[in-house]
Amino acid sequence: MQLQQMYQEIILDHYKNPHGRGLRDPYDAESFQVNPTCGDEVTLRVRLDGEQVADVSYEGQGCSISQASTSVLTDLVVGKPVGEAFKKLDAFLELMQGRGEVEPDEDVLEDGIAFAGVARYPARVKCALLGWMAFKDAVARAEGKA
């Protein structure tokens, strides 16, 4: 069944037990992103500490894919330098836009490699990217401020 390729155990685990969920203070910038076709939304906050991503907190509603990928995002970027976080973002973007043709690098994406199956469903790619786009936007805002 193809479905199992998309809904990997890792994804369902993150969906049922999301990491880092909830909005926290203090934060440097916040981003609100919405998926216009399904109405899914995320509000995501970033706190930077110099060049480090000190915290990412978020709240929102959405499908298993969008919720799980935001949870994975926090695991991947919190505590990392912004430059490294953006490398991961680029790798995740490449994976998701690869139509299932891109081989993910587990060293970079860790649990994120579970989304390889999602990349074969173009309509779901936006779901997987929702939190990541919010992160990108929030960091840009935070750096704009600084």
Partner: protein, 430 residues
């Protein structure tokens, strides 16, 4: 619904006109197409009519004097007459647009243009203090153009709320539609809930206060007999691609007298009377509203689609869909953890409800539910179906919608119901 019809649709036979239904999806699953509310499939007869036109008599219409141009113009205008006949209107009351969305925008922009038009357009004038009325269950196509018109003119947008069971709440009709109201725009049938609204009380009240009415007939004209003159609305819109016809063409109906006074919207070739560098005058309707080269072959295809539907008989189409809708609602009622949006079955039946069944599965996001259904070959729509405010009103971010048409049968409904149970099983919510 109490339609009495001689014989039901012969679905098995007519499915042969839709070769796409024979294909498989997702590793060999039979395709169960339950997304006709978004767009319908098109029978071979429609494709053939369009192709025949293009290979035998294609030329620019209303512009040429040679034989091909004559034949093409005849075919185009014959299509207009066929469609007019199908909805109880006169041919010169029908404007071909690119889709239903353009139709609403046409009326909204043309009303805005009354500000820079002659005195005959004064009845369409709109400004601060004036009100535009719509409803909370509208498709974005019948909401956003009015929001924008309000923004451009300073008029105020008001709307009818929606009841818990998903019907337009008319209890404050006389307050919502009042002396300040310029236009009332509402859906004949909701694309999410299937709820059918009787236009009569709204039209009566609008007439009382001198407001115009616009009926969004996108989900009614394809699915039931509609007689626009009998409904007595001022404007109506619908889309070809939802009624077995080609993409790229929709219809705006306007009462003859109103179209005659309405300022133009899109301008350019074929809609003019006289053009000088200093300014132009415009042709009578419907030409005034058909700027540029029209969707010629698509009109011919739409003509073939209404011939196809007329042959089936719209009463029979409605009865057929009603039977499938009742079966779907009855089946869903038996599955715990399913919340159906819109009017429920009462004693095994429901009135004024067309063939769109939207629902949520407790514990499973609609997008995820749609994915499991898709994996079984069942094509439904997930999301807010371009009716975001309605979903907000009903307290859900999104829903799953199954919508039926002439080519669906009870096997499709059974497959769908089994698919919903599989969704719950897959996500472990039962």
């Amino acid at each position: 619904m109490t339609t009495t019809v001689s014989a039901p649709l012969d679905v098995a036979a007519l499915r042969a006109d839709f070769p796409i239904l024979g294909r498989t999806v997702r590793d060999g699953k039979r395709l169960v197409y339950l997304d006709s509310g978004a767009t319908s499939q098109k029978p071979t007869q429609v494709l053939d009519a369009e192709r025949r036109f293009l290979q035998e008599r294609n030329a620019a219409v209303h512009r040429g004097a040679h034989q091909l141009a004559e034949e093409a113009t005849d075919a185009y205008e014959r299509a207009r007459a066929l469609v007019a006949d199908f909805v109880g209107a006169r041919a010169d009351e029908l404007v071909f647009t690119k889709n239903a969305t353009e139709g609403v925008n046409l009326v909204a922009y043309a009303m805005g243009n009354a500000a820079t038009s002659g005195p005959e357009a004064a009845r369409f004038l709109l400004g601060p203090g004036d009100e535009i009325v719509t409803t909370e269950l509208e498709h974005h196509a019948n909401l956003v153009p009015w929001q924008e018109l309000a923004k451009r003119t300073g008029a105020t947008l008001r709307w009818f709320p929606v009841t818990d069971s998903g019907r337009i709440d008319l209890s404050d009709l006389d307050t919502v539609v009042n002396e300040r109201t310029k236009v009332v725009a509402f859906a004949h049938q909701s694309n999410v809930l299937g709820t059918v609204t009787d236009p009569a009380p709204i039209v009566a009240r609008a007439k009382q206060v001198g407001a115009l009415t616009l009926l969004d007939a996108c989900q009614s004209v394809p699915h039931m007999p509609v007689d626009l003159h009998a409904l007595d609305v001022d404007f109506a819109i619908f889309s070809s691609h939802k009624m077995l016809g080609p993409y790229g063409i929709g219809v705006l109906y306007g009462r003859a007298e109103l179209l005659a006074a309405l300022p133009p919207f899109l301008t350019g070739g074929s809609m003019i009377e006289m053009v000088r560098m200093e300014g132009s005058t415009f042709a009578p309707p419907p030409q005034r509203f058909e700027a540029g080269t029209p969707m010629t072959s698509q009109a011919v295809g739409l003509g073939a689609a209404v011939e196809y539907l007329s042959e089936l008989g719209m009463d029979r189409v409605a009865a057929h869909e009603h039977a499938l809708t009742v079966a779907a609602l009855a089946g869903l009622a038996e599955i715990p953890g399913i919340r159906v949006l819109g009017p429920p079955l009462v004693d095994g039946d429901v009135a004024d409800r067309g063939g769109a069944v939207s629902f949520v599965v407790d514990g499973v996001h609609p997008h995820d539910a749609g994915q499991v259904l898709d994996d079984q070959g069942i094509a439904v729509r997930v999301g807010h179906h371009c009716a975001w405010p309605l979903h907000r009103r009903l307290g859900v971010p999104a829903s799953v919608r199954a919508s039926v048409y002439v080519y669906n049968d009870l096997d499709d409904i059974d497959a769908f119901l089994a698919g919903v149970r599989e969704t719950q099983r897959f996500f472990g919510v039962v």
